[in-house]
Symmetry: C2
């Protein structure tokens, strides 16, 4: 039963003070950080934990682990229409974690904090007999009243998703079973694309402003497109349908699914996409699409909400799609 | 490498939705919480992690674990002069954690959230192959510009501490080695007092307003009085001295130290007190003491800051106190 002690102070001074340069971090000399909330804004708060062996591979590059820990939170902010204002990080470390690991972790975290204008304001460092566990709380700001909820969808709206879906889930499969026939025909570039999409999520912060202006409802896709959309519809009190052929896939994902059609279900229901799902009133669709493109984020119309409940995913013939493992496409 | 999935949703609905009743928690139906910062206030942010087997005993009552995880953060807020506005909690749980454990944990957390007006706004639940790990981020509010820093002490100020010191460290010793001669003469009530002070920290939120009005510098005592005061003085750029006989001890601690004088060092340098250290200009001492008493928090003047650096802890004769383990009282 140990306290922090001066070992922790030296640790913080060495690894984290250099990356906590914002005024509110108070040089990490205090137990708490100070934040003057931006005028006229609501704050959006999100907190995600990642555990070695559960959410990332223990031998992932430390900088990539740091990036993922931060970015899964930034993705939540983006989906709510928020811009980052800062983050706090707690890390539980096994004894004997090498200095080089910590250096690379802190460097990765610091680089991302700067790249995403999300200063590290403070946190905690503890030891653990278990695996590396990282918890990040990110704070974002939205103009008052402009938070984009998960619950705002209504019948008759367009369902959009950003980027491409399934790359990360396929990248994980590729990493776990690289010799599977499904991946045999992929180019080196395609393999690298899938692996990178699993390792380095890209939070869609550029879309936040567009969502605030046009989306009735939004969330990020972290647990798989189909499951997450079903959750959003249920939270909104409506149903919906998605045409599988409209769901945007990367060239690498298309190649893998062509080689093993069973991987379509993995792409549609796997996790870690960190793309944005949004429901947009039809009248706003042209402007939403235009502004998203201007922001550099491709978005695709994949379906429509309807009255009632449940989500139907249909194939090209309009039939319910078999998503494997005995589960069908009505959620 | 698993995502959250619907198992997590059911888990949240069962255990945490009932205790997350505030508006900003959005019924925990969203990935993020919404907070309208109080007008005219700065936000104070703090984040502490606790790990089973490191910061608490795995067989501690789950409600006590929840209380400690929250209260160590509330103690930080109190020391900064802040009132709680809400908290986010992430918990990493071993597979097979019994339902009864989770129920008691959630009930303990919910009761404290209500008692301390610190609503649970959101968080994350993940599985871990390691020990139970709980991370709480607490947010507090102070009127703009009234944050009480750790860095504000100057030479010639009075050093105060709240409550009594050393109970928790002695309670931990008692728990680990209850048959030690030092504890043989303690009454049942005294033993219970020490054990309770380790298990159930009491954040000094009632002192926050008094600190804002009168303290130049403050921090909570989590890693031991002597070490934490030395940190505060170093952060402020001054030195100080403390007379050990002025440090307030409970009747139980007095009895233990009388039986084993070596335990004085444990009391003064052990951790988990969660009392408040404050440096107060001499002119404000009478009003500080009066208002603290009005707030129901006893405070004791234990020493004085001085120019230079370092902390001297002296015995009744004015000699440097041996704090054991080869470390002396100059820090």
């Amino acid at each position: 039963m140990e306290g922090g002690g001066s070992g922790e102070d030296r640790f913080i001074a060495r690894y984290f003070r250099p990356i906590a340069g914002s005024q509110g971090a108070l040089g990490l000399l205090d137990d708490a950080a100070l934040l003057s909330p931006p005028e006229g804004c609501d704050l959006v708060l999100t907190k995600d934990a990642v555990v070695a062996g559960v959410h990332f591979f223990p031998d992932d590059p430390p900088a990539a682990i740091a990036r993922k820990a931060l970015r899964v939170n930034l993705s939540d902010l983006a989906a709510k229409g928020a811009a980052p204002v800062g983050a706090l990080m707690a890390i539980a470390l096994p004894k004997g974690t090498p200095d080089a690991w910590m250096e690379a972790f802190a460097a990765g975290l610091g680089a991302d904090a700067e790249a995403f204008s999300c200063p590290i304001l403070g946190g905690d460092t503890v030891s653990t007999p278990g695996p590396v566990t990282i918890t990040i709380t990110a704070l974002g700001a939205v103009p008052k009243g402009e938070f984009v909820p998960r619950t705002g969808a209504q019948a008759g709206m367009a369902i959009f998703v950003s980027g491409t879906i399934g790359d990360a889930a396929l990248g994980l499969r590729l990493r776990q079973d690289g010799d599977a026939p499904a991946f045999a025909g992929l180019s080196g570039e395609q393999r690298a694309h899938l692996l990178d999409r699993y390792l380095n999520p890209q939070p869609r912060l550029a879309l936040a402003r567009v969502l605030r202006r046009h989306a009735a409802s939004a969330m990020d896709v972290s647990d798989g497109l189909v499951g997450d959309l079903a959750k959003m519809l249920a939270a909104s009190g409506c149903g919906g349908k998605v045409e599988a052929r409209r769901v945007p896939l990367s060239a690498a994902a298309v190649a893998a699914v062509k080689a093993d059609p069973g991987l379509l279900a993995v792409a549609l229901s796997g996790g870690d996409d960190y793309e944005i799902l949004a429901c947009v009133p039809h009248a706003a669709v042209p402007q939403f699409t235009f502004e998203a493109a201007q922001a550099g984020v491709p978005v695709a119309l994949i379906g429509e909400t309807r009255a009632g409940s449940g989500l139907d995913v249909t194939d090209a013939g309009g039939h319910p799609l078999d998503l494997g493992s005995g589960s069908y496409s009505h959620f």
